[in-house]
C-alpha cells in the first residue's frame, strides 16, 4: 500500500520553466556600493538610502539564526546578484506595452494581467525578479482613494506614507534576514486603504523569480486606516534550477482602529527535485501590527513550495479588543524542510488570537510548526486558542510541534491542542470497500484535513490551493 502512496505523492512541478527575456542583472556581491547602486537605479530619496545603509551595518554585525529545525549549506551572500530586472521601457502607459514574452509567462501561470481577463475583480501587481512590471485596476482603485502599486512608485508618489510606516512593524535589525532585506530590497507592493474605505476588490501580488543567480528581496507594506478593510492575496512561483535561490521578503501590515486586513498566501516556489537538489530558500519575515482598537489582522497561508521555508507570520495585538488569526497549511515532500508557524504577541486588553495549523509531511521531508503565544502583563482578559495537527504520509518523514506559551497575566486564557493523523492502509481500505480508489481517497482525506484553513481563503484562491495540494499529493496533473 505504501507503494500506492509513494506514487501519489511524487508529482512534477509545473511552473518550472524559464522565461527567455533580456534582463538587467547586477554583478554578484554585496557591499555598500551594491546598496548605493540599487538605490541609484531606483532614483531613491536620501532617507531611503540611509535606511538601507543602517540596515546593512546592523546586518554585518548579526549571525544567521540556527534555532530553526532546518539544515542547509552555508549561504555565500557574495555569490548572489541583488538586482535583476527585465529590460523594458522605463514607463508603461498601458498593459499593451508590457513585453509580450512576460505576458505569455504570466498567462501560462494563470495570472491575469489584462483587466478584462477571466479573473476580473482582482487587482494584480506583478513582480518579476526584482521589479514590479504591471499593476491592474490602479485607476479604478484610486477613485476611492486606495493606493495600490509597486513599492518603488509609492516611494516617489507617496514618500510621506512610506517614510511614516516603513520599518515600524519589522525594525531594520529585527532578525538576520529582515536586516538583509531592509538593506537590499528592490521592489514589492504598497497598499494604502484610507479611513472608512472597504476595498471593493481583492488585491493581489504575484511574485516570479526568473533569474538563476538572483535573490528576490521584496518589501510589502499595507496600511489600513481607521475603519478600512482589505483582502490581499499573494502567489509565488519560480523556475526549476539545480541551484538554490534566496528569497528573503519582509511584509509589514498596519491596522488602525476598527481596520481589518486579511492576507492570504499560496506559496509554490520551486521546491527542488526528488533528491533535494535546487529549490528556493524562503526566509521571510511577515508581521502585522493590530495597532488600533477592534482591529483585526488575519494571515492565511498555503505553503507547498520552497526547499526550505522559514516563516512566522505574526500579529502584535496592541489595540484593545484587537484580533489576530493565523491559518496555515504546510505541505512538504521529498527533501523539503519547513519550519513555520506564527507569533501572537498580546499587549492590549481583551485581545484574542486563533491559530490553526495543518502540516502534511511526505517523502523524506521535515515539517515543523513553531509558534509563540505571549501574553504580556498588560493583556488582561486575553484569549488564545491554538490547534496544530500533523499528518504523516509514509515513515520516512518527520512532523514536529514546538509551541511556546508564555503567560504573564493570570486573567488570560490560553489553550493549545495538537494531534497527529495519517493516511494509512485502514483508511484507504474503507474507501476502497465503497468503490473509491486510492487517489480519490487521498484527495478527499487531505482536503478534509485542511478544510478549516481552505475555508479562510478567498474563493478563487481556495480552488487554486485545493488543486495545488491534489496536484502535489496525487496523480492527476492539473
Amino acid at each position: 500500500m505504501s507503494a500506492v502512496l509513494q506514487n501519489l505523492v511524487n508529482q512534477p512541478y509545473k511552473h518550472g520553466f524559464v522565461t527567455d527575456i533580456e534582463s538587467d542583472v547586477a554583478p554578484k556581491g554585496l557591499s555598500e556600493d551594491t546598496i548605493r547602486m540599487i538605490s541609484a537605479k531606483k532614483n531613491e530619496p536620501e532617507w531611503l538610502l540611509e535606511f538601507r545603509l543602517k540596515a546593512y551595518q546592523q546586518w554585518l554585525k548579526m549571525t544567521e539564526p540556527t534555532w530553526p529545525n532546518v539544515k542547509y549549506p552555508k549561504i555565500d551572500f557574495q555569490a548572489i546578484s541583488y538586482y535583476a530586472a527585465p529590460k523594458q521601457k522605463p514607463k508603461l502607459k498601458s498593459m499593451d506595452e508590457v513585453d509580450p514574452e512576460l505576458l505569455r509567462t504570466f498567462e501560462k501561470l494563470g495570472v491575469p494581467m489584462h483587466e478584462r481577463a477571466v479573473l476580473a475583480g482582482v487587482a494584480v501587481d506583478v513582480i518579476f525578479d526584482s521589479v514590479s512590471v504591471a499593476t491592474t485596476y490602479k485607476h479604478k482603485l484610486a477613485e476611492v482613494g486606495i493606493i495600490f502599486g509597486s513599492f518603488s512608485e509609492a516611494v516617489h508618489e507617496h514618500p510621506e506614507l512610506v517614510k511614516k510606516y516603513l520599518g515600524t512593524v519589522v525594525p531594520v535589525g529585527d532578525n538576520y534576514y529582515a536586516a538583509l532585506n531592509s538593506a537590499v530590497f528592490t521592489d514589492g507592493s504598497f497598499c494604502f486603504i484610507p479611513k472608512g474605505v472597504k476595498c471593493p476588490m481583492d488585491l493581489s501580488t504575484y511574485f516570479r523569480i526568473n533569474t538563476q543567480e538572483s535573490g528576490q528581496f521584496e518589501r510589502t507594506l499595507i496600511i489600513a486606516e481607521e475603519g478600512a478593510s482589505v483582502s490581499y492575496l499573494e502567489g509565488c512561483t519560480a523556475p526549476r534550477f539545480d541551484t538554490n535561490q534566496l528569497h528573503a521578503a519582509v511584509v509589514e501590515l498596519i491596522a488602525l482602529d476598527n481596520a481589518d486586513i486579511k492576507y492570504s498566501t499560496v506559496q509554490n516556489w520551486y521546491a527542488g527535485d526528488e533528491n533535494g537538489i535546487g529549490g528556493i530558500f524562503n526566509f521571510v519575515t511577515k508581521r502585522g501590527l493590530a495597532k488600533g482598537v477592534n482591529s483585526r489582522i488575519s494571515w492565511t497561508q498555503v505553503e507547498t513550495g520552497s526547499a526550505i521555508t522559514w516563516k512566522y507570520p505574526s500579529v502584535v495585538l496592541q489595540g484593545e479588543n484587537s484580533v489576530g488569526e493565523f491559518y496555515s497549511v504546510a505541505v512538504t515532500n521529498h527533501h523539503q524542510q519547513a519550519d513555520t508557524g506564527t507569533k501572537m504577541i498580546h499587549l492590549g486588553k481583551n485581545t484574542r488570537s486563533t491559530i490553526v495549523s495543518k502540516g502534511i509531511s511526505a517523502g523524506h521531508s521535515n515539517n515543523s510548526y513553531r509558534g509563540l503565544v505571549k501574553i504580556a502583563p498588560t493583556a488582561a482578559g486575553a484569549r488564545n486558542y491554538s490547534q496544530c495537527d500533523s499528518m504523516l504520509i509514509g515513515d520516512q518523514s518527520g512532523a514536529h510541534t514546538f509551541p511556546y506559551i508564555q503567560v504573564r497575566n493570570n486573567s488570560a486564557k490560553v489553550e493549545h491542542e495538537a494531534s497527529t493523523s495519517k493516511i494509512g492502509e485502514d483508511q484507504l481500505f474503507y474507501f476502497a470497500q465503497r468503490g473509491i480508489d486510492a487517489e480519490a481517497a487521498v484527495s478527499m482525506i487531505i482536503n478534509g484535513f485542511c478544510k478549516d484553513v481552505f475555508q479562510q481563503l478567498p474563493l478563487e484562491f481556495a480552488v487554486e490551493a485545493s488543486n495545488l495540494l491534489s496536484f502535489k499529493l496525487e496523480g492527476s496533473i492539473g
Binding site: S421, F431, A432, Q433, G435, D437, G448, C450
Partner: protein, 269 residues
Amino acid sequence: MIYPGSKTILEVRGLCASVSGTEILKGLDLTVKSGEVHAIMGPNGSGKSTFSKVLAGHSAYQVTAGSVLLEGKNLLDLPPEERARAGVFLAFQYPIEIPGVANSQFLRLTYNTVQTQRGKEELDPLEFDDFVREKMKLLEMSPDFLDRSVNEGFSGGEKKRNEILQMALLEPRLAILDETDSGLDIDALRIVSQGVNKLANKDNAMVLVTHYQRLLNYIVPDFVHVMDDGRIVKTGGKELALELEARGYDWVGAKHRGAAPKVVAKVAA
C-alpha cells in the same frame, strides 16, 4: 428467502488464507444464492471476521489456496475497489473515522462511483441530497448526520446505521455484515435490522457474521453455518442458531475435533 432456481451469487471453494504467516482460514466452502440470508456463527477466533475481510480484499490477508466466485467472476483477482463496484459490500465491525470529510460528500462520491460503474447517471449534490434523505428515513437517521465528518464522534449505533445507509445507497449484490449487532442497544438493533430486512430482495444476498443469536431474532436467516478453526463445520436452518444459543459452541467444535465428551456429561450421567 429461498427461491427455487435462483442464481448463485457467491461460490467459495477450499478457501485458505493467512495473516502475517499464520493460517486462519483452512479450507472454507460456502455457496450463497440470490435471495438468501446466511448467518455465519462461531466462537471468537474461529475466522469469521477474517473471512469477511478476505472477501472484501483487505491487503493484510493472503489467500493461499481456493477460489471465490461472485456471479461466476473470479473475485480474488480484483482490488478492493473493483470488488465493491462489482457488488460486494462489507459493513465493518469497526467503521473507520475520517476527520474533516463530510459524510454527505463521502456518500455522494461513493454512490456516484458505483453508479458510473453500472452505466447509470451520477446525481448532482441537490439531487443526491433528496435521494439520501429518503434513504435515511429508513434508518431513522437525523439529517445532521450528513454534515458531520464520516463516523467521527459517532456512537456505536450511529456508526452501524451509517454502514447500513451506505448499503442502501450502493445496492450491493452481496452484503456481508460483520458483527453488525455488536455494541447496539435494543432500539438501535431493531432499527438496523428493519433497514436490512427492507433492503433484502430476491436479487441480492446477505451474509451475517455474528457471535450471538440475538441479531437473528430480527433478521431471520435461511441458513446458519458454524465456523470453527477456519472452516464451516456445521450447517443448518434458523433453529441451529437457537441451539447454539442454548448449548454454546463447544459441542459443535468438540464433535468436529472428535474430542472426548465433556466432564459435564459425566456428572449428568
